[in-house]
């Protein structure tokens, strides 16, 4: 039997390290934060600033060599009609994908947060996450097959004798095309599918925190379900919607693979960056293009903050 209430063994070994860490909580924080800080600070932010720096250089039109002098010439190039077109097209597509994703995701998230229990909740997470487990390329190519002229969607319309409807839709300028797989509608559908989980999960998390009594209280005070949605449910879910929209919006802004595989030949920002830094060898313009989504996102977050989207956090 031991006589001491306090263990006197303060010798080394692993327990000694534990004791030392327990006495120095700051050391623990330092140890925990240093590796990710190094990773983020040097590898990520470092390369980002290197890229930013590149955008202030320019390319010599005759020799094709980069001139390492500060200039805003490259940024001016962004505002040529062709490049401005690319930017506007990408932003409009991102906005459409984001809005559609929010509309599609909300009911699913609401169901999961409010009604799904036990087995059904597990099924919900599985259903939402399952697409994330397979390769992104596989998903995009399978969508190309679904949307192609010989694809299942066309076949479905034919079987239902609705081909005229699909053809009428495809003949609409801008959003139509030869088949869905080479139209912007196709690009939109694939973007929507691929980024949808990133919208559902944050909305579900924010709805999960809204107690049932909140919507009941609203109904109790005379609000119809529509009014309850507008005045209580949506404002309380807004931080989740904004979080989701940051994902869908920025992911669409930067993506270059989906529009290349499914869609028309006209470019998006990601494709422009890819083309300029690769075959064209115009690193400064590629860098300037890469800055565009960053600026747009910063602006978007600023607006969201001004609108009070983060007040309920």
């Amino acid at each position: 039997m031991t006589d001491h209430v306090l263990e006197t063994d303060r010798s080394g070994g692993l327990r000694g390290i534990s004791d030392a860490l327990w006495r120095n909580p700051r050391l623990v924080i330092l140890l925990l934060l240093t590796p990710p800080a190094l990773w983020l600070g040097i590898v990520y932010l470092g390369s980002l600033f290197a890229l930013l720096a590149q955008s202030f250089f320019s390319i010599d039109e005759f020799s094709g060599l980069i001139q390492y002098e500060f200039t805003l010439k490259t940024y001016k190039e962004l505002f040529t009609p062709t490049n401005l077109d690319i930017i506007i097209r990408t932003v409009v597509m991102s906005a459409c994908v984001t809005i559609a994703a929010a509309i599609v995701a909300f009911p699913i998230a609401y169901y999961a947060a409010r009604y799904a229990r036990g087995k059904w909740k597990a099924l919900f997470y599985l259903g939402v996450m399952l697409p994330l487990w397979s390769s992104y390329l596989v998903k995009v190519y399978s969508w190309k097959l679904i949307l192609a002229k010989e694809g299942i969607l066309n076949w479905l319309f034919e079987t239902l004798h609705l081909s005229w409807l699909l053809n009428a839709y495809l003949s609409i300028p801008v959003i139509g095309g030869n088949s869905l797989s080479v139209s912007w509608t196709g690009t939109f559908l694939v973007f929507l599918y691929v980024w949808l989980p990133f919208m559902i999960l944050p909305i579900q998390a924010s709805l999960e925190r809204v107690p049932r009594s909140m919507t009941e209280a609203s109904g109790d005070l005379g609000a119809s379900p529509r009014q309850t949605f507008c005045h209580v449910l949506f404002p309380l879910a807004l931080p989740g919607v904004i979080a989701g929209s940051i994902f869908t919006f920025s992911l669409t802004l930067g993506d270059y693979i989906i529009p290349q595989i499914v869609g028309s030949s006209r470019r998006f920002i990601g494709q422009a960056v890819y083309a300029y830094q690769g075959t064209a060898g115009n690193i400064p313009l590629a860098a300037a293009f890469a800055v565009v989504p960053i600026v747009i996102m910063a602006f978007y977050l600023w607006i969201a903050k001004r609108m009070g989207a983060f007040d309920a956090l």
């Binding site: 909140m214 109904g219 005070l221």
Partner: protein, 333 residues
């Protein structure tokens, strides 16, 4: 005869096999302060939710001011609720929370804010309108929830354990204030609680719930002094319930009976042979009295001894007696 505010006709609410509310009949008069008392899971809150419209009865009919509530959604019932967790909207300030019902009704901003300010005055929170609910104490939130529920001028106010989250002193103060408010406004209050003291001190009538049924309904004094079934005797003020074999020996009748702890007297084992033989199990000083737990032959009793009485030691042998008028016979159950 006063008009009936809320009437239950054989109302049941079943969740699968579970009978949360089982064939309840109830008639609450207009202007009454009515308490639903019972342990958790006894069906009292479900009854309240049935009146509010958050739940639909599986069977039976609820009649509110002469009209059936069958198929009427909560937002079309002129009944308002104070929720147990208050359910204040965190994204709105206090004034907009209180004015919510009027905003939904389409009242212009100036009018509804003036009404909300008046309602805040009624619950003694004038000038708190600009704060967020998160900046208020529990008692203040409770008052805001009350003001918000009253702004639509309901004819029936439902209160779901409204004082449950408050500390003792505040709870007693709010009990008085709620009672005053109900008298002032003259509307029907239906109040759900598991605290018998709260139900007895505030309500005009009390319904005691157990396992989805009302086991007794009546004035607080009746519930307290004349429980009809052992459950009520035990749950309301923890009366001693005597088994029939003891009652037969003492009163010559085969039934359960109750004796209030404060009516129980202890006599030294040596003196007088009448009364029941008991062993003192433990004693506890509870401020106004001393609580003595007694082991009788096969069951236990509690006695509350007033200040000045001799307190026996644990393990001591005593005789237990009471006045014959303190023994209350119940229907066998």
């Amino acid at each position: 005869m006063r008009t009936s505010a809320v009437r239950f006709d054989g109302v049941s609410r079943h969740y699968g096999e579970v009978r949360a509310v089982d064939a309840v009949d109830l008639d609450i008069a207009e202007g009454e302060f009515f308490a639903m008392l019972g342990p958790s899971g006894s069906g009292k809150t479900t009854c309240l939710r049935l009146i509010a419209g958050f739940e639909q009865p599986t069977d039976g009919d609820i009649v509110i001011f002469g009209e059936t509530a069958q198929g009427v959604p909560p937002y079309k019932r002129h009944v308002n609720t104070v929720f147990q967790d208050y359910a204040l909207f965190p994204h709105l300030n206090v004034l907009d929370n209180v004015a919510y019902g009027l905003m939904i009704a389409g009242k212009p901003k100036r009018e509804r804010h003036a009404a909300a300010e008046a309602a805040l005055e009624l619950v003694a929170l004038p000038g708190y309108g600009a704060r967020k609910p998160s900046e208020l104490s529990g008692g203040q939130r409770q008052r805001v929830a009350l003001a918000r529920a009253l702004i639509n001028e309901p004819r029936v106010l439902l209160l779901d354990e409204p004082l449950g989250a408050l500390d003792l002193k505040l709870r007693e103060q709010m009990q008085d204030e709620l009672k005053d408010l109900q008298r002032k406004l003259g509307i029907t209050f239906i109040f759900v609680t598991h605290d018998q003291g709260e139900a007895l001190s505030m309500a005009d009538r009390v319904a005691v719930f157990n396992e989805g049924k009302i086991v007794q309904i009546g004035k607080p004094e009746d519930i307290y002094y004349r429980p009809e079934v052992p459950f009520v005797a035990d749950f309301v003020g923890s009366s001693n319930v005597l088994p029939p074999r003891v009652v037969e020996k003492m009163a010559g009748q085969w039934s359960h009976a109750s004796v209030r702890p404060e009516a129980v007297k202890l006599v030294d084992a040596g003196i007088g042979a009448d009364g029941l033989h008991a062993t003192v199990h433990s004693t506890a000083f509870i401020g106004t009295a001393t609580r003595v737990s007694l082991d009788l032959d096969g069951f236990s009793m509690v006695a509350l001894l007033p200040k000045g009485a001799r307190i026996p030691d644990a393990g001591e042998q005593v005789h237990v007696t009471w006045g014959s008028e303190d023994l209350h016979l119940m229907d066998a159950a």
